[in-house]
Symmetry: D2
Subunit: 380 residues, 4 copies
């Protein structure tokens, strides 16, 4: 380890995503032995000194800041990692880029495309390495899906469908706002399931199937009022509880997307399926180590969907982990993204999705919300 | 058998559906021993004498007609069963009703709602028993789903989603028109997957979840020209190869529907899922003996989707078949519909879905096609 | 139909198996149009006149007998079909063969190999067509498994495992003996799960994987006493509730078999799996339309178990039924066996499994029971 | 972290298991924040200086030893963790215990029960904390199974079945002996699949279902000779490639176990199922985040196997990881065992399985191998 170049990380925010990213930094060199860099947990920044310190103690950050501007100004920080609620992404990211820091930003890039654009401009102007944590691209089965698509095995694509179904907000007693619940407050989150869940589906879809041209959407807010933790009062719920849309991809295929937090029985069911002329692919986050694959060129009498256990050394990323048959989990996607980010520093290639990539997703999200609001098709 | 009342059937058409219906008539009394009536295969009608005769010989029809008007006029026929392409449904059904015959019509009722309306008027004016063969209602698992919904166990419904995915028309070499392929010709079929496949999904959805208020749809015809079997020439394909729509149900839930014949890997994948406040239900035609059920009131540590093998005597229709664990298949749905139709003659209750029920489905289909054509939301 | 040769059936017994066989006879010509013969339901025989008459009325048998000897003596009967409890198989079958009748016998052939041997001798001496209703061979997926094995695709076989798990006798309140419950009485049944369930597994195994050389078994009777319906008294339970064994096949592979009626949650879970050098196969009666297939020669990154929906026209028997994706069920296996039996009359080839084939299964069952009793390996 | 008590680890061996254990030590305090202790990677010991140093560099061990005796003698080491091939377990463990070190030993405890006994005596005499890495007990789904069994929900147990199926040694070209392949050499491993794979199944079985009384087994070595890496010569293969046995548990239930490395299509398929009077449980390592559960007390019409996604905070260990729906993987079992071991140091309770627990598993393995060798039932 001693001969590896240190990369000093300054983490802003220490919630759920603060943990996933920190774990990524701490695990990466154990499993990806050939990297040139090693992340150093230099500082974590949070408004509440005690909590930030407790996080630093648990995860091993060397220091604590309570003002992100101070963190950004520190000379001993190479990269700013943004794990705050969405409404703070832009300000921090732009300042970090201007300060010449690399920027790793939790998804979605910001609340809207308009808010995202200056972020893209900032990192591109500053020419700093940047990436957005659309982590599901780096589930090995999803990365393999990308390889299969790129190989041309599917032929012409006819259909792409994805959904992200949860059920954790069905109770009317759940408040909005505050730690863990800012996702129910559009002021902080920008939108509801569209930015939180569909953004993942859209990022993967664009990666696998190319650009989306136009969309027709509907949204719904099933529970109209919830107590806000900031005020203790019942307030109008401003987010979308559910969002559905269909669309045309630039390649002529049809897309169908759905997301909700009211699908009883589903915890975090992100699934997608691609139907091509010659083959099809399916994946499901609840069984993330599996990829389902149908190849029409198989002998007809024994042709069927294959359930492929993506745990072999010749499958993406898996040579770094265990032996065939032994599963990895959710958090490994962040380790993979750290590994790829570190590699990108050596190669000079961007670590996708970049801020620019994430802007395209933001534009689709905006079009989706506009379409739902106006009950009309919208071009992206 | 000898003490059962005969019900003399006149079948119009002897294609795929002619076989399923005939099998229903022939099996019903073997397995439903307590019926008052027994179907008698009195006559089959088809334009081509030889083929109709061959069908009659194989299935045991007593006589053959080549003109459906003669069949309708026969005094020894009690019920006319219509298995022709869709463009002939209306004329035959109206004439049959006027002649005082019971009418059993293959789905969809006709090519459009406009064409369906006089059919409804005819059977209602003539007060003749009538039913439409939306057979999937009578898969035991689907009937059980209806019972569960009606029991109130699901609570408020948030989501209904269904799809019907096939892959048999992907080849550009497949012609349109003619035996078995009239489904690719809008003149005969009315529409493509909308009337052929989505109509099933819509019928079930209305039955389980109530009326659909408005729809936003898109359709696509992937292969623009196919040789027509009637002319031997390449002609424009007039049907929809794929159709997707979202909608509002009258009960406030959101609907999502998709159908295509270009989903590589799926033969006849009709699935639906209902998400309620307290419980959810899923079903899949490829595994028709199973119902998946999620009950949130289960103890949280062992709560999960149940895969219920619907083969026990206390589950709908299954007391008439074998013993627990032993599957039934597709054709049994038709036996069940015959049994229910015969029962309805004894009770005087309608055998749902009636022509009027099927008209509602036709109206949704029309709204879907109009929405896709005009790229706008349409009320049903 | 009129030009087909009639085959006059005399059915002995009208219980569960009487229904499955009768259904087979009645459906076969509807779906297998090219057969030379057509079964005629000439007579059903049962001890109780009323019940036999009721069965005849429901299923359409032309006449009723209450003494099987009279049935066997009738000149207008071509084939005797035996659906009685196991203890009556031998006497009826031998008399039928001696009378020159074809014999179709429900499985197992008899209670023991010793009881089966004169049955084999009788049909072979009389040179009458004979078959035993090990119906699961004719599930299309199982027949396809046989074709795959015979093709050599699996290479050298290492493992064969099968089980047949039920849960219907767990209650201590269930009596033994009498209608439907004679299977719990060794005097009538010969054995418990060994003859009832494992016999199916063994028949399939020998068919797919060749002879079994030696066995090591254990049995258990969990509930030691049950009320006997004949006496109303609690009596010792004489059957095996569960039976497990491992074995060597002649081809060098290892076998593992288990059957029980105490596996809570399983209704009729008959599964088998074959592991070969190059490929493997799995099947499950609860999902009988599916075959699972693993082919090691698939490209490694997308290699996985295929779930093949056996409903296409090029898969065994399925060209006679519906269209791809549409399931068939349990009862179709009997239709298939009738079809194959009728074909065998035309070709002169035996309809497997013959009485001789079933004797081999009986010998394995005997060895299994002896091994369990003596706690020692037994050669077959 | 600074206020936690250090526990200085000395690791012997740095192969596959060295990685899993090291990862456990490094992650535990990140996710289990309330522990009193923190592991310190003090030293790793391996015969080859370069390789040991490389491992130490990658994983962050402070020092390297090439002689395990020196490691055991070091005053700055609190606990010896043994990850060597099985033939070296006993010597190291006994010396470590005598030196007053805690001992954590990779499974199986040793090659035989005879070799294991003095190990148990040593740790018990020295009164040092000890544990054996039968890690699968700590898959959350398996731990939950234990809780369900202990709750009495299953009622009387009738059946326990388990298998561990792999396919990685089918090629005759694979050599035996040497790094990664010592498992194919009985001198190093003690046995083949019995000690490597079945030992896991037996450990879980005893934990969940109590003691095994007697066994009847068979083993097979499919490939009789392989090149030995030590000699470069073809030598007799001394291990069992496959092992099957049935048994009686002390509670009266029947056990069925199978393991092989010749089951084409299975990578590391460890599954078990328990059938009780009232409920049943199933689990599968390939889908380790799921537990299948059948509860007979469910309403009969919606009764079925539940597939429970074990990722909620109220399920074992999962409160320490992410949010519902997000999977964990194989390596987490080792983190859990480290956490439990550290907790045991605070509570003074043993961390099961202890050496004594593992001795019982060794005795079953010995009985299994003896039964297979002698073709006779063996008491444990």
């Amino acid at each position: 380890m001693s001969d590896k170049k240190p990369l000093n990380i300054g983490l802003v925010g220490y919630g759920f995503m603060g943990r996933t990213h920190s774990n990524g930094y701490k695990r990466v060199n154990d499993f990806f032995g050939d990297l040139e860099y090693r992340p150093v947990l230099k500082a974590v920044c949070g408004r509440t000194q005690d909590k930030a310190q407790a996080f630093a103690d648990q995860w091993g950050y060397e220091s604590v800041e309570t003002d992100w501007k101070k963190l950004v100004a520190r000379a001993d920080i190479d990269a700013i990692d943004i794990c705050t609620p969405n409404d703070q992404h832009a300000e921090v990211a732009i300042a970090a880029a201007k300060a010449g820091k690399m920027v790793l930003c939790e998804k979605p890039l910001a609340r809207t495309a308009a808010e995202s654009e200056p972020m893209v401009a900032a990192v591109e102007e500053a020419k700093v390495p940047n990436t957005v944590w659309y982590n599901y691209r780096r589930v090995p089965a999803v990365t393999l899906a990308k390889q299969i698509v790129d190989s041309g095995k599917l032929g012409k694509i006819f259909h792409y469908r994805a959904n992200f179904l949860q059920d954790w907000t069905i109770s009317a007693d759940l408040p909005q706002g505050g730690a863990g619940l800012w996702r129910l407050d559009a002021a902080a989150a920008g939108s509801g399931v569209t930015g939180d869940l569909l953004a993942h589906c859209i990022d993967t879809a664009i990666w696998l199937n190319g650009s989306i041209k136009d969309v027709s959407a509907m949204t719904e807010t099933f529970i109209k009022e919830r107590v806000h933790t900031a005020t203790g009062e019942k307030q109008a719920v401003t987010i979308d509880d559910a969002c559905l849309f269909h669309c045309h991809f630039a390649n002529g295929s049809l897309g169908l997307f759905e997301s909700t937090r009211y699908a009883r029985g589903h915890k975090a069911l992100y699934t997608f399926e691609i139907n091509g002329e010659h083959a099809s692919i399916r994946w499901d986050l609840h069984d993330l180590n599996r990829l389902e694959y149908f190849d029409h060129s198989d002998d007809s009498i024994v042709r069927g969907w294959r359930t492929v256990h993506i745990t072999d050394g010749d499958q993406p990323y898996m040579g770094h982990w265990w032996v065939p048959g032994l599963c990895i989990g959710y958090e490994h996607t962040f380790v993979h993204q750290v590994a790829d980010f570190l590699k990108s520093l050596s190669t000079g290639e961007p670590c996708r999705p970049t801020f620019r990539d994430a802007l395209e997703t933001a534009r689709v999200c905006d079009a989706v919300l506009a379409s739902a609001a106006e009950r009309a098709w919208k071009n992206v």
